[in-house]
């Protein structure tokens, strides 16, 4: 039975047609069965209620009826980095971190296809960044002085990457100011309709 319902729920045409039919015929059959006490009308109402119950089960079985439920959202906390001169360390340091949060809610079917997200960070090579992450889902694929690439295999839940201890050596200030002075974050995934780009400006004080 469950398999049968599962198969039914996978065909959206049936569901849309069925729900439309039941929506229209319910008031019609109710009104008609009150007007003339006909056995045919009563049976129509019974069938109608049966279809409604079936639809309810189908919707519960697979919530994809209501649209794609695969959702991948990302948040970047701190979109402005100020490097301040620290006399004790004799270099420019940032007092705040950048935190990347990836929030995904996926259907079991999508998880089975092993989706992933690629995050590419690029920044001026003078900038030093420490990366912190704890999840086993995250794999660092590339680590250069001016870029990093992360591959994150998705399951439902939250994944966090923190960019900490951002700093710049004192004598690199001039070289840094000749670059774009920005951290660029590109997020790519088959679950996102297009690749997203975020830019975090870095200013030196």
């Amino acid at each position: 039975m469950s398999q049968f319902i599962n198969r039914l729920s996978k065909s959206p045409n049936l569901l849309v047609g069925g729900s439309l039919a039941s929506l229209i015929s319910l008031p019609v059959s109710l009104v008609l069965s009150y007007l003339n006490e006909n056995l045919f009308m009563w049976s129509l109402l019974t069938i109608n209620i049966f279809i409604l119950i079936l639809l309810f089960i189908l919707v519960k079985q697979n919530s994809r009826v209501l649209g794609r439920l695969d959702q991948v959202d990302y948040y970047i906390f701190n979109k402005n980095i100020d490097l301040e001169f620290d006399e004790n360390l004799d270099k420019y340091v940032s007092k705040s971190d950048i935190i990347l949060v990836l929030n995904s809610s996926l259907t079991t079917e999508t998880i089975a296809s092993k989706p992933f997200v690629e995050i590419q960070l690029s920044y001026p090579p003078q900038l030093q960044i420490d990366y912190n992450w704890t999840s086993e889902q995250i794999l660092r694929e590339e680590a250069k002085s001016d870029s990093s690439k992360f591959k994150i295999s998705l399951v439902s839940g939250v994944v966090i990457i923190a960019l900490r201890s951002l700093c710049l050596e004192k004598d690199q200030e001039k070289a840094f100011s000749e670059t774009s002075g920005k951290i660029q974050i590109a997020i790519e995934s088959e679950l996102l309709s297009e690749s997203r780009k975020e830019v975090i400006p870095v200013s030196i004080f």
Binding site: N80, F85, K174, S203, F205
Partner: protein, 234 residues
């Protein structure tokens, strides 16, 4: 000379009330066994005088050498470094502005001013009153970030940042509770857009090398602001 990264940070100092205001240009070359200093001044704008101070300091470090016999020979070596600072001041104003990245160099400048010119200066600390005025003082500026230290016994620190924070509920509720402001970041847009971080210890750090006009404007602003507050003291 002017597009120098040195101009990105300055400290505000105040003349000791017992010291008379600086009215003449500081111009001198001093060379003795301890110091070698060159002061040179010029008037860069109406009433604003810039003095360049270049001085040589000698540091002694120990250099070690290992000989075949296993004896380590220690010999002192002299290392000379030359530092540059600018001080700006307005005629008839008790405030002077020292352009330097490091507070330790400012202390050296304070010592030199006292020793060779008899000018006694002291550090300024911005009060919450000063910060309050800075929050709302101009149309050409926008507050980007405010750091607070809480008024309760925990002395928590927290920072609010974003656009248009002065109209935000978070800012209003924290401002009301009499929390002490410790740091401000303001975006100035006069001749050029630049951000300024203003710290409680009267240190101002700019995000770009400023244009001379902007800097003079900024210094005039601080001067008027601080003079207002200390009215009656001088």
């Amino acid at each position: 000379m002017f597009r120098d990264p040195l101009f990105k940070t300055f400290f505000i100092l105040r003349l000791n009330p017992e010291t008379s205001l600086i009215s003449n240009l500081l111009e001198q070359f001093i060379s003795n066994n301890k110091h070698k200093i060159k002061f040179s001044s010029n008037e860069i704008a109406n009433d604003v005088i810039a003095t360049e101070i270049v001085w040589e300091t000698t540091n002694e470090i120990e250099s070690q050498e290992l000989h075949e016999s296993g004896i380590i020979e220690v010999s002192p070596q002299m290392i000379k470094t030359v530092n540059t600072c600018y001080i700006w001041y307005k005629k008839n104003s008790p405030f002077i502005y020292v352009f330097s990245k490091k507070a330790t160099l400012v202390l050296e400048v304070m010592e030199m001013l006292e020793r060779y010119f008899g000018i006694m200066v002291e550090r300024v600390n911005f009060s919450t009153q000063t910060f309050n005025k800075l929050l709302y003082f101009s149309n050409n500026s926008q507050v980007l970030q405010v750091s607070f230290r809480s008024n309760n016994e925990n002395l928590q620190t927290f920072t609010i940042s974003g656009s248009d924070i002065l109209n935000s509920e978070t800012f209003r509720s924290n401002y009301k509770e009499d929390n002490e402001i410790t740091q401000l970041t303001i975006l100035f847009s006069n001749y050029d857009d630049f951000k300024a971080k203003i710290y409680k210890n009267a240190r101002v750090a700019l995000s770009k090398i400023p244009y001379e006009e902007d800097l003079i404007l900024l210094i005039n602003t601080f001067n008027n602001l601080l003079l207002d507050e200390t009215e009656g003291l001088y």
